[in-house]
C-alpha cells in the first residue's frame, strides 16, 4: 500500500483533478444568467468519477483486459436496446435514466473498445485483410449503433481509433487505399441516408456561417466573438456579455472554452492549454509489461487528444460543430466518468512498472 502511494503519479493526478475543477468553475459562470445549478451536478459527478477511478485502479490489469470483450459486447447490447426504449433527450436516444441520474452509455464504449483493440493489436505485426476486417467490424459496430441514436460526436470520436492504429502498425498500402475509399463511401452514404437535416445543416452552415443566424454557423460566429472580444485578460468572471446575455450557445458544454476565452482572456487560455499539454505529454511517457498496455495507452490518450483538438478547433471556427465536448472540463457526467475510468486504467498500467 505504501508503494502504491509512493509510485502513484501524483503530479499528473493533480492535473487530472484540476481540469474538472476548472470546468466546474466555468460551468457556474455559464449557468449564471439562467441560475442553473449544473455546476453542483458536475461536482457530484466528479465525486462519483473519483470513486470509480479508485475502484478501477485497484483492479488487476490482467482482469481488466480479460473482461474487455465481455464489457464491449455488453455495451453493444445496451446500445442496441436503447434504440428501442432509450430515453429521448435533446433529440437523441443516448440517455438511460437511473432515478434522476441520466447515463449516456455511448460514452463508455470507448474503454472496452480501446482495451480489446489493444489486445488484438498485440497479436499481429502487419495489418492484412483479416486484421483489417476484424478492426473495422469492432469499430464500426458501436459507431453504427451510436450514429443511429443519433450522436454524431461520440461516433466520430470512436472512428479516430483507426488512424491511430494505422500510425502504430504497419499496413499493406493496398489496404490503406481501400480504407480511404471506405471512408469516402461511408461519407457519401452517411450524408445521403443517415444524417438528419439538422446535422447536415451544421456542416453546410459551417461553410457559410453568416447565412444561418440561429444555426450552428451562428453558434460559431458567436463563439468567435466571445473568444475574440475577451482579449488578453478577459472581461472578468461572470462579466462576459456573450456568455451572460446568452449569445453563446451550449456554454456549459461544447463551447465552454469560449466562456474562459471571453471572461478570463488569452492568459487563462494559455494556462489551460499548458495544463492540457503537460497532462497529455506525461500520459504518453510510461513503461509497460505487455504490448497491449502500450497500445491501450496510445489509443486512449490519442482519443482524448483528438476530442480536445476537435472541440477547440470548433470553438474558433476551424471545424464544423460536431457536438464534441472539451474533455474533463465540459459539463457532462457520463463523459467525465468514462474518462476517469480510462485514466484509472492508464494510472494502473503506469504504476505496475514499480510494483512487485
Amino acid at each position: 500500500m505504501k508503494d502504491y502511494f509512493k509510485f502513484f503519479d501524483k503530479f499528473t493526478f493533480s492535473l487530472l483533478l484540476l481540469l474538472p475543477l476548472i470546468g466546474i468553475f466555468l460551468i457556474y459562470s455559464a449557468g449564471f444568467p439562467l441560475k442553473e445549478t449544473n455546476y453542483l451536478k458536475q461536482a457530484a459527478w466528479l465525486f462519483f468519477s473519483l470513486v470509480a477511478f479508485f475502484i478501477v485502479f485497484s483492479m488487476k490489469i490482467d482482469f481488466i483486459f480479460r473482461n474487455a470483450l465481455a464489457a464491449y459486447l455488453g455495451l453493444l447490447g445496451i446500445l442496441a436496446l436503447q434504440l428501442f426504449i432509450g430515453h429521448t433527450m435533446a433529440g437523441t436516444k443516448s440517455w438511460f435514466r437511473l432515478g434522476s441520474i441520466g447515463m449516456q452509455f455511448s460514452e463508455f464504449v470507448k474503454i472496452p473498445l480501446a482495451l480489446f483493440l489493444a489486445k488484438i493489436m498485440a497479436g499481429f505485426q502487419l495489418i492484412g485483410w483479416k486484421e483489417f476486417l476484424k478492426l473495422i467490424i469492432l469499430i464500426a459496430a458501436p459507431v453504427f449503433l451510436i450514429v443511429l441514436q443519433p450522436d454524431l460526436g461520440v461516433s466520430f470520436i470512436l472512428c479516430s481509433f483507426f488512424p491511430v492504429i494505422v500510425l502504430l502498425k504497419k499496413i499493406r498500402p493496398f489496404i490503406l487505399i481501400a480504407s480511404l475509399v471506405l471512408v469516402l463511401l461511408c461519407g457519401i452514404i452517411g450524408w445521403n441516408s443517415l444524417l438528419k437535416d439538422y446535422q447536415k445543416n451544421r456542416i453546410v452552415s459551417f461553410l457559410n456561417p453568416a447565412k444561418y443566424k440561429t444555426s450552428s454557423g451562428y453558434q460559431i460566429i458567436q463563439s468567435r466573438i466571445a473568444i475574440g472580444s475577451g482579449g488578453l485578460s478577459g472581461k472578468g468572471y461572470l462579466k462576459g456579455s456573450q456568455s451572460q446575455y446568452q449569445f453563446l450557445p451550449a456554454r456549459h458544454n461544447d463551447f465552454i472554452i469560449s466562456v474562459i476565452g471571453e471572461e478570463l482572456g488569452f492568459i487563462s487560455i494559455a494556462i489551460l492549454f499548458f495544463i492540457f499539454f503537460v497532462f497529455f505529454y506525461r500520459q504518453f511517457k510510461f513503461n509497460f509489461h505487455n504490448d497491449e498496455e502500450f497500445y491501450f495507452i496510445y489509443l486512449f490518450n490519442s482519443l482524448i487528444l483528438f476530442q480536445f483538438l476537435i472541440n477547440v478547433a470548433m470553438a474558433i471556427g476551424y471545424l464544423p460543430v460536431l457536438g464534441i465536448s472539451l474533455p474533463f472540463v465540459s459539463y457532462g457526467g457520463s463523459s467525465l466518468l468514462s474518462l476517469f475510468v480510462g485514466e484509472a486504467i492508464m494510472f494502473r498500467i503506469k504504476i505496475n512498472n514499480y510494483l512487485t
Binding site: 440561429t214 473568444i227 475574440g228 476565452g261 482572456g265 492549454f273 492540457f276 509489461h289
Partner: protein, 605 residues
C-alpha cells in the same frame, strides 16, 4: 516485478513517444497561434461585434401634435397603442414566423411577406412594424411567451386618433406610412420606413409642425431581444398644437344636415378670413389609415365613385350656374355696359347668333333691370349683358374675383377650375372662340368651372364690397404654450368700384328678402344676401352617373352663395348640394339653418 511479456522494441517505443510528442507540440503551438490571432490581433474587431450584439438603438416615435378648433376642442390627438414588431435576425423558421405573424395580425401571409420585403435594405435587427393597435389579449399572450417567439417584440407607442370619427375628416386629412419612393427624396431625409406622414388636409399642410421630434433609446438586450437595461435615452418631443379657426359646433351641425345628400359647405368669418366650417360629403374615417389598411379596404375607398377621399370644397369642380351672374353684373357695371337704369325685356327666350336661348322661366320676366335680374335670376338679362361684353373681358373679371386660380387657402391639393377665354380655346382646341359660347358663359355654363372655395372667396369679396380676404384654416400654432406661428388676416382690393358692389349687394338682398329665387333662405331679423345657382351637370362619362338613381341622375347641382348681415357683414357661406335640384328648394333653406345656428345665441329678435 511483474513478468514482462513485452515484445515491442525499445526503438519502436521511443519513436512512437517522439512522434506523439511532436504531434502534441504542433497541436498546442497551432492553437496558441490561433488564439493569439483571434484574441490579441483581432481583439478590437470582435470587441466591436460583441458590443453590437448587445446594444440596440431604438427610435422612439414622437406623438403628433394636437389639432384643435377655435375653442380648443380636440379634433385629433394620440392614444397608446401596442405595435407588433418583427426582428428578422431572431427568426428561426421563416415559414412558422409568417404563420404566427399572420395569426396575430389577422392578415394574409403574403401581405406579411410583402411588408418584410420592403425592409430589405435595413439591418436585420431593425424592428419591422407588422401590426398596430394590437389587442390587449394578444399583447399578454406574446409577452408571456417571449421564449417561444423571440422574433416578435411588442412596442408601446403613440398612435393618431380622431375622437370625432368622420367629423371634419376632409379638413383634418389623414396620415399613413411613408413609402419607399418617398424616402428616396431628399426632403424626407429624416423619415424612416414605418414612419407616418400627413397625406391630406391639415395633417399634410402642417406636417412639419405636427410631426414632433423622434426620440432615441440605446438599450442592452440579450439574444432574445429582451431588454436588460436602458443605457441612454433621448425622449421624443410631441409635435406643436395646431389651432384651427374651425368651429367644431358649427361644423358638426352642418354635417348633421347632410343626411343622404352629398356636397360641400364652407363658412367664413369675414372679419378674419378664417374658415368656421368646411364640410365635404361623403367622407371617411381618417383613423382607418393609422391602422394597417388592407389593400381591398384601400381600393374600396379610393375607387368609390362618390370619392369620399376628395375634399369637394377644395377639389370638386362644378359649373357655377347662375351664381356667376354676380360677376357678370360687376363686370357690366364696371365696364359701363349697363347702369342701374338699364332694362331688358324678358319674354322667356331670345335669339342670339341664330340660336334660341331660353330663360329658366319660360313665361318670361317682363321688363328687368339689374336688381330684378339678380333677384329672379333672369337669364335673358345676362345673355344680353354677355353679348355686350366679350369673353376675354368676362374672363378677366372672373379671374379678378378669384376664379380660375387656387384660392390660396392653407390646404394642399386645391383645384383651380377653368375660366375660358379666346386664348384658352385657341391653345387647347386650336379653334376660334364663337360669340354664341359667350352667351352660355354669361349664365355660368359652358366650359366655365369652379370649386366651392372659389365661390366662397368671391361672395366674401362681394360682402366686403371689394376687399378680398385670404381664406385660411390656421389660427395659430402653439408649442409649449408659446405661439410659433399666428395667422394675421390679409385683405387685398379688387379694382371694381365699391358703388357697383353696393348695387350687386342690393340685388342679392332682394334675392332672399323680396320674393326672389332665394327667399327660402330668409330669416326674420337677419339681413341675408345671397344668390342661387342651379347647374345641369351630369354627363354619361361621369363616374357618379351609374350609381345615381334615374330620378337623381339628371337633377342639377344646387348652389347657394350668401352672406349676412347686409351691412357690416360677418359671415359668408357657400352651400353646394350635388344633384340637389332647385337651389331655392334645397340649398337656400340649408343656408338658413346654418345662419340660424350661428346667430342663435345672439339673436335679439
Amino acid at each position: 516485478m511483474y513478468p514482462s511479456k513485452r515484445k515491442l522494441s525499445g526503438a519502436y517505443v521511443k519513436r512512437a513517444a517522439t512522434v506523439a510528442a511532436v504531434i502534441l507540440f504542433l497541436i498546442f503551438l497551432g492553437f496558441f497561434a490561433a488564439f493569439w490571432n483571434i484574441q490579441i490581433v483581432h481583439n478590437e474587431y470582435f470587441r466591436r461585434l460583441a458590443v453590437q450584439n448587445i446594444t440596440r438603438s431604438i427610435d422612439l416615435t414622437a406623438p403628433r401634435g394636437l389639432i384643435v378648433d377655435c375653442k380648443q376642442k380636440i379634433l385629433s390627438e394620440n392614444k397608446i397603442n401596442f405595435t407588433l414588431y418583427l426582428v428578422r435576425e431572431n427568426v428561426i423558421d421563416m415559414k412558422k414566423t409568417l404563420r404566427v405573424a399572420s395569426f396575430f395580425s389577422a392578415r394574409k401571409v403574403d401581405a406579411i411577406r410583402n411588408i418584410i420585403a420592403r425592409y430589405k435594405k435595413y439591418p436585420h435587427f431593425y424592428r419591422i412594424s407588422i401590426k398596430k393597435n394590437l389587442a390587449r389579449d394578444t399583447v399578454i399572450f406574446i409577452e408571456s411567451r417571449q421564449e417561444e417567439f423571440p422574433e416578435f417584440v411588442i412596442g408601446i407607442e403613440p398612435t393618431r386618433t380622431y375622437p370625432l370619427g368622420h367629423c371634419a375628416a376632409n379638413v383634418l386629412g389623414y396620415i399613413s406610412e411613408i413609402s419607399e419612393s418617398e424616402l428616396n427624396s431628399k426632403k424626407n431625409r429624416d423619415y424612416r420606413l414605418g414612419d407616418f406622414v400627413g397625406r391630406s388636409g391639415i395633417e399634410k399642410q402642417y406636417e412639419s409642425y405636427l410631426r414632433g421630434i423622434k426620440g432615441n433609446q440605446v438599450v442592452i438586450k440579450d439574444n432574445l431581444e429582451k431588454i436588460q437595461k436602458v443605457e441612454s435615452e433621448i425622449k421624443p418631443v410631441i409635435g406643436a398644437t395646431v389651432v384651427l379657426t374651425l368651429d367644431l359646433e358649427l361644423q358638426k351641425f352642418i354635417e348633421s344636415l347632410f343626411v343622404d345628400q352629398f356636397g360641400a359647405v364652407g363658412v367664413v368669418d369675414l372679419q378674419t378670413g378664417g374658415i368656421l366650417a368646411m364640410v365635404s360629403k361623403p367622407d371617411y374615417d381618417p383613423e382607418l389609415f393609422t391602422q394597417e389598411m388592407e389593400r381591398e379596404q384601400w381600393l374600396a375607398l379610393s375607387n368609390d365613385p362618390q370619392n369620399p377621399l376628395q375634399n369637394k370644397f377644395l377639389q370638386g369642380i362644378y359649373s357655377p350656374g347662375s351664381v356667376f351672374k354676380i360677376i357678370m353684373a360687376l363686370a357690366g357695371l364696371q365696364e359701363k355696359v349697363i347702369t342701374p337704369a338699364t332694362t331688358v325685356h324678358c319674354s322667356g327666350s331670345q335669339d342670339f347668333y341664330g340660336r334660341e336661348f331660353h330663360c329658366w322661366n319660360l313665361g318670361g320676366h317682363g321688363t328687368v333691370d339689374i336688381f330684378s335680374a339678380l333677384q329672379n335670376s333672369c337669364n335673358i338679362f345676362f345673355y344680353n349683358l354677355g353679348k355686350r361684353l366679350d369673353i376675354d373681358t368676362i374672363a378677366s373679371y372672373a379671374r379678378m374675383m378669384g376664379l380660375g386660380n387656387a384660392s390660396g387657402i392653407d390646404m394642399p391639393a386645391e383645384n383651380t377650375g377653368l375660366v375660358p377665354s379666346s386664348d384658352w380655346k385657341m391653345r387647347t382646341m386650336k379653334q376660334r372662340w364663337f360669340p354664341g359660347e359667350t352667351i352660355s358663359v354669361a349664365i355660368g355654363h359652358g366650359s366655365l368651372s369652379v370649386t366651392p372655395v372659389q365661390l366662397l372667396k368671391m361672395i366674401a369679396t362681394v360682402a366686403l364690397r371689394g376687399r378680398m380676404p385670404r381664406l385660411h384654416l390656421l389660427q395659430r400654432i402653439e408649442k409649449d404654450g408659446k405661439n410659433v406661428m399666428e395667422f394675421t388676416p390679409e385683405f387685398t382690393s379688387v379694382p371694381i368700384a365699391a358703388e357697383y358692389f353696393q348695387i350687386v349687394v342690393d340685388g342679392l338682398f332682394r334675392v332672399v328678402n323680396h320674393e326672389g329665387t332665394g327667399r327660402t333662405a330668409a330669416i326674420a331679423g337677419l339681413d341675408i344676401c345671397g344668390k342661387t345657382g342651379t347647374s345641369q351637370i351630369i354627363a354619361k362619362d361621369n363616374p357618379r352617373y351609374k350609381i345615381l338613381t334615374k330620378e337623381k341622375r339628371f337633377m342639377p347641382n344646387s348652389w347657394f352663395v350668401s352672406f349676412a348681415p347686409k351691412d357690416n357683414p360677418r359671415l359668408a357661406m357657400v352651400v353646394l348640394v350635388e344633384n340637389g335640384g332647385d337651389a331655392g328648394v334645397i340649398a337656400a333653406p340649408l343656408a338658413a339653418k346654418i345662419y340660424n345656428k350661428y346667430f342663435e345665441n345672439e339673436r335679439l329678435f
